[in-house]
């Protein structure tokens, strides 16, 4: 379908008569020339008539064409690509808009945030729709969020306000689920007409990973980073996309973004006690050209370190800070990278919990705890970092188990069921339970424990010739063995009696075994904590283990491991919901959790299998959160929330790769708002041929001039070709 932007210029088609008029005027004004004879003129005219007709016809054709092209060019014809939509009155258009809602869209370019550009563009697209058109908008974040509900909307008036009120992106995104949702909605609510799918995003390669089709998951670093499909995320199948759908992908921002971000921090040691130095390793990432950057670290709001680092091209770099000795308690820390266009990932928040001493509970009679207490009481300069508390088994119910990071049971396996449940609850909440067998327990007593790492066990007395056993480290990297491995010793024990295990439970593993391959120390995680079971007693009744050189360091390692095994992570990623009971066991229904801006965070209580569970909602603001356990009491730092760093990788997408990624033929790629609007105009309204026609007219004009000159120049003179002497003699050919 062709229409004209400047149809009034159609009258200029009268100019086509100019060559004819000029021809007739010239004919009527032909001058008369007396000539000696017409004989040769007639002959020449007869011979030339056909050629002259052809030449004149060509010239006239060129001139008509030139004028027609000029007139058509000024009439600005528009070629409509809507096929026969107007004729059949089926121009109702359904539009699904998918907006990337990841925080990489917060990239600031020329004082304008890409997200704002995206919202403005979506608003423009909606406002440009006709009366019969409908639209839907989906935000592609961690979850697919329909902006106008799960329906196609035709109300354009509310669109702008709703879109502008959308929250700034805070999470990550995958475009595929939202795209599929948009297509499904258009398909469900189908009507005859055109369908447009608009994907508005930045140049980031990351969100396109979900479009990888089955069997095409990226397996190289250069490929689109693939992530496990989220719940409800369907694999992309372009063959299921209707032929009536035309896809527009608009890339906003810059194709060459720059960004520096802190990706992670690691504390060394993991268990930090009061007044001891520690070290923080900061992992950095860089997108864009190399940058000489400065990284600062702040402890409780005060800058305690600053280092310059050369961030390479898209490479990771690490920088280490030594932190000063800190007092006991929770300390807030923040790593800052210099201000750049994506400010959200410049600060990195985390917490350090500094312990005064490690509280350990030893349960058993004094004889069985003799060596264990001695080992835990040892320390540098006679001061042990461990505060070991010994109680008789009958005193266990009166103890607040949550106050201990580790509980040793020595020859105390035969506990009442209620206490066993209490201890298993303690483990599930993040505690470490270390069990030493003893002669007082029967094999049937072990069966009452559901958290033990072994399926079944037996107690064996070893003959004398088999008592000497060489220990082997089954998991040399296990924290319990860290300091022991470095000694390079080949520990051996004399074992008179031991537990023999008949199979390990799921997730259970052997950490140390005797030379015959029988497990010596097995562990099994349970909840957030773990249960460890030795094969021998903690005293000398079964073996000489308490007298071995690695008994003491192993006990210390166990307590330190216990302090860390259920310890909270120094930071969490921003999330909409978090189980506070899991991360902050001290939180109650009366507790008040405040965000970095000191605004209360909504807490929700529910009843779970293990009692009341408290959830915090809307932990999306990065920073340090404080918790007041009693409501009106003092607030202490409780959580450090950071933006997910997966979005910090701004590796750019090459627009020419999009057809391969999407697999759709009807795909238009626009780089920026103006480009999209032009392509939309071309698609919806049509493509203006004005400029093309004027260029064509220029070419035809050049051809006409060249052809006319060719016709004029091709005539030579007979007098030049005649071989004529001065005397008039003609020489023959």
């Amino acid at each position: 379908m062709i229409s004209f932007l400047n149809f009034s210029f159609v009258f200029a088609f009268a100019a086509l008569s100019i060559p004819l008029i000029l021809h007739f005027i010239q004919s009527s004004r032909t001058q008369r020339l007396p000539f000696s004879t017409l004989r040769f003129l007639k002959l020449a005219q007869r011979r030339s008539s056909r050629r002259l007709q052809m030449e004149n016809f060509l010239l006239m054709l060129l001139r008509f064409l030139l004028l027609a092209l000029l007139v058509l060019g000024f009439m600005m014809p528009i070629v409509r690509t809507k096929k026969f939509g107007n004729v059949l009155s089926r121009t109702a258009r359904d539009v699904a808009i998918v907006i990337d809602h990841s925080y990489s869209m917060n990239y600031k370019l020329n004082q304008q945030v890409v997200w704002e550009q995206a919202v403005e563009l979506a608003t423009t697209v909606i406002e440009g729709l006709g009366d019969n058109d409908r639209y839907c908008v989906y935000l592609a974040g961690d979850q697919v969020t329909p902006v106008f509900g799960e329906r196609m909307s035709g109300n354009k008036e509310e669109a702008a306000a709703r879109l502008r009120s959308l929250p700034m992106p805070v999470g990550s995104s995958q475009l595929c689920p939202a795209t599929v949702a948009g297509l499904d909605l258009m398909e469900q609510d189908s009507r005859r007409g055109e369908r447009e799918l608009h994907i508005i995003t930045d140049y980031q390669l990351l969100p396109w990973g979900s479009f990888k089709q089955n069997g095409e998951r990226a397996d190289t670093a250069d490929d689109v980073p693939a992530r496990p499909a989220a719940a409800g995320e369907s694999l992309w199948d372009p063959s299921k996309v209707s032929d009536s759908v035309t896809c527009f992908v608009t890339l906003l921002g810059t194709a060459e973004p720059e960004n520096s971000a802190t990706m992670d921090v690691e504390l060394e040691p993991r268990l930090i006690t009061a007044e001891t130095p520690c070290q923080v390793t900061v992992k950095l990432s860089r997108t864009g050209p190399p940058l000489d950057s400065v990284v600062s670290i702040f402890l409780d709001g005060a800058e305690v370190g600053r280092q310059s680092v050369m961030l390479g091209i898209d490479g990771a770099n690490m920088v280490q800070f030594a932190l000063p000795p800190m007092s006991g308690g929770v300390h807030t820390l923040r790593v800052e990278t210099p201000e750049d266009s994506l400010a959200e990932d410049n600060p990195f928040y985390f917490l350090i919990r500094v312990r005064e001493k490690l509280p350990v509970l030893c349960v058993g009679d004094p004889d069985s705890l003799l060596y264990l207490k001695a080992a835990l009481a040892a320390g540098v300069g006679g001061v042990s970092p461990i505060n070991a508390q010994a109680v008789q088994p009958n005193a266990l119910p009166g103890e607040n188990l949550a106050a201990y990071s580790c509980i040793f049971l020595s020859n105390t396996i035969n506990l009442p069921g209620q206490q066993i449940t209490q201890l298993e609850g303690y483990v599930a909440a993040g505690g470490l339970l270390v069990i030493f067998p003893g002669s007082r327990a029967l094999l049937s007593d072990y069966a009452l424990w559901t958290t033990l790492p072994v399926e079944s066990l037996s107690m064996i007395d070893l003959p004398v010739e088999q008592r000497k056993r060489l220990l082997t480290w089954d998991q040399p990297q296990h924290p319990v063995l860290w300091n022991l491995v470095e000694d390079g010793l080949a520990p051996s024990l004399v074992i008179k009696r031991q537990l023999k295990y008949e199979g390990l439970k799921e997730k259970a593993g052997s950490i140390v075994s005797t030379g015959s391959g029988e497990p010596f120390l097995v562990a099994r995680p349970h909840g957030r904590g773990a249960v460890m079971l030795f094969a021998v007693a903690a005293d000398r009744s079964w073996s000489d283990f308490p007298l071995s050189p690695f008994y003491l360091p192993m006990m210390h390692q166990l307590t330190q491991y216990a302090a860390g095994v259920g310890a909270n992570k120094p930071y969490l990623w921003a999330t909409d919901a978090l189980s506070l009971t899991e991360y902050l066991p001290e939180a109650t229904r009366e507790s008040v959790l405040k965000d970095p801006e000191s605004k209360p965070v909504s807490l929700r209580s529910s009843v779970g299998e293990s009692g009341n569970v408290i959830h915090a909602e809307g932990l999306t603001k990065p920073g340090h959160y404080t918790l007041s356990v009693t409501g009106g009491g003092a607030s202490n730092p409780a959580l450090a929330i950071n933006m997910p760093r997966v979005e910090s990788d701004l590796t750019s997408l090459r627009p020419q790769d999009l057809p391969d990624i999407l697999g759709i033929s009807a795909l238009h790629i626009a780089e920026g708002k103006d480009d999209l609007l032009k392509k939309l105009d071309d698609f919806r309204i049509g493509r203006s041929l004005g400029e093309t026609l004027l260029w064509l007219a220029l070419l035809v004009a050049i051809a006409e001039v060249a052809y006319s000159n060719f016709l004029l120049r091709k005539n030579s003179k007979l007098t030049d070709t005649l071989k004529m002497e001065a005397s008039g003699r003609l020489k023959g050919n």
């Binding site: 001058q31 008369r32 007396p34 004879t37 005219q45 030339s48 008039g728 023959g732």
Partner: protein, 317 residues
């Protein structure tokens, strides 16, 4: 409305002549006559004159140039007997000598309407008259006789040959009153003129030859049959040869009045081809008949051309 156009083209240099001059001075100025006084028109063949002159005669006369011996017969003058031959051979022979006579030149001038064409200031007929005057002057200066025929569709003027400058003057004076304005029948007039010239002479045809070329060639053949030395000076305007006009015209035939509208730029190539064939026909046939055919363009000075032609003719004799 068609209107008459006098098309301007670069033309031959026109020598200023005396205003109001008559006769030879109407066609040649003093400088031209001075230049032409040093050249002569030689006949390539023997001619029959009535006076003694510088040209070979078919008759054996009293010149000192020995020609041949002939057996003595009745009527021979005994004084011509070669006694030395008689003494050696005892037979009577008479000596014969070459006769030398004067040249009689007939200039045949075409005054048809087509001769009135001229793209510049010079019409073909004017040029032809000047050329006739120049040749006549050269002939008379050499003590030879010159006569003249002027024809169109009939013989309009006939002047018998005389060898005096006064005769030439009077002839040219009559030529002044002749205008090119009639249709032509060249072949018929050539035959008539050939029948009227009884003695071998030099015949010079000055014409544009825009007529039936086969008939004209036959007319020329008639002259050659009568042993005349024939020169054809084919006078043409450069525009007639090249059709080098830059716009379309309504062409009007100057003899028939027929009209034809044509754009010369479009037909020039085929025109030149046809005109070239026309010239080639005359060149080939004249060469076959040993007629001296020359193409004369009107964009050159008459005396320059006449000198060039006469010099070459003298060299080739």
């Amino acid at each position: 409305m068609a209107k008459k156009l006098k098309f301007k083209e670069p033309a031959a240099e026109v020598k200023p002549r005396e205003p109001g001059a008559e006769g030879i001075k109407a066609f040649l100025n003093a400088e031209q006559m001075h230049k032409l006084s040093r050249v002569v028109l030689q006949s390539r063949y023997v001619v029959e004159g009535n006076l003694a002159g510088a040209h070979r005669s078919p008759l054996k006369g009293a010149s000192s140039e020995f020609a041949e011996h002939k057996a003595y017969g009745i009527g021979d003058d005994p004084k011509h007997i070669d006694w030395k031959v008689l003494a050696r051979t005892e037979r009577y022979y008479v000596k014969r000598f070459e006769d030398e006579t004067n040249l009689r030149v007939y200039i045949i001038l075409d005054r048809s309407g087509s001769m009135a064409y001229g793209s510049g200031d010079v019409k073909k007929f004017d040029f032809a008259c000047q050329l006739a005057a120049a040749l006549g002057y050269v002939v008379v200066k050499a003590k030879d006789s010159v006569g003249m025929f002027v024809f169109s569709d009939k013989i309009d003027m006939r002047v018998e040959p005389r060898d005096t400058l006064n005769h030439l003057h009077n002839t040219l004076k009559r030529l002044q009153d002749v205008k090119p304005d009639s249709r032509t029948d060249t072949a018929k007039n050539l035959h008539q003129i050939a029948e009227s010239i009884h003695k071998r002479a030099l015949v010079i045809l000055i014409s544009d030859l825009l007529d039936d070329e086969q008939a004209i060639v036959q007319g020329l053949a008639h002259f050659r049959k009568q042993m005349h030395d024939v020169v054809v000076l084919h006078v043409l305007d450069p525009v007639e040869i090249d059709l080098s006009l830059k716009q379309g015209f309504e062409f009007e035939d100057m003899e028939t009045g027929e009209k034809l509208t044509v754009d010369p730029r479009g037909v020039a190539r085929d025109y030149q081809k046809a005109f070239g064939e026309f010239l080639e026909y005359y060149r080939v046939n004249c060469q076959a008949m040993k007629v001296d055919y020359r193409l004369v363009k009107t964009d050159q000075p008459v005396e320059t051309y006449a000198r060039a032609y006469l010099e070459e003719r003298r060299r080739l004799r």
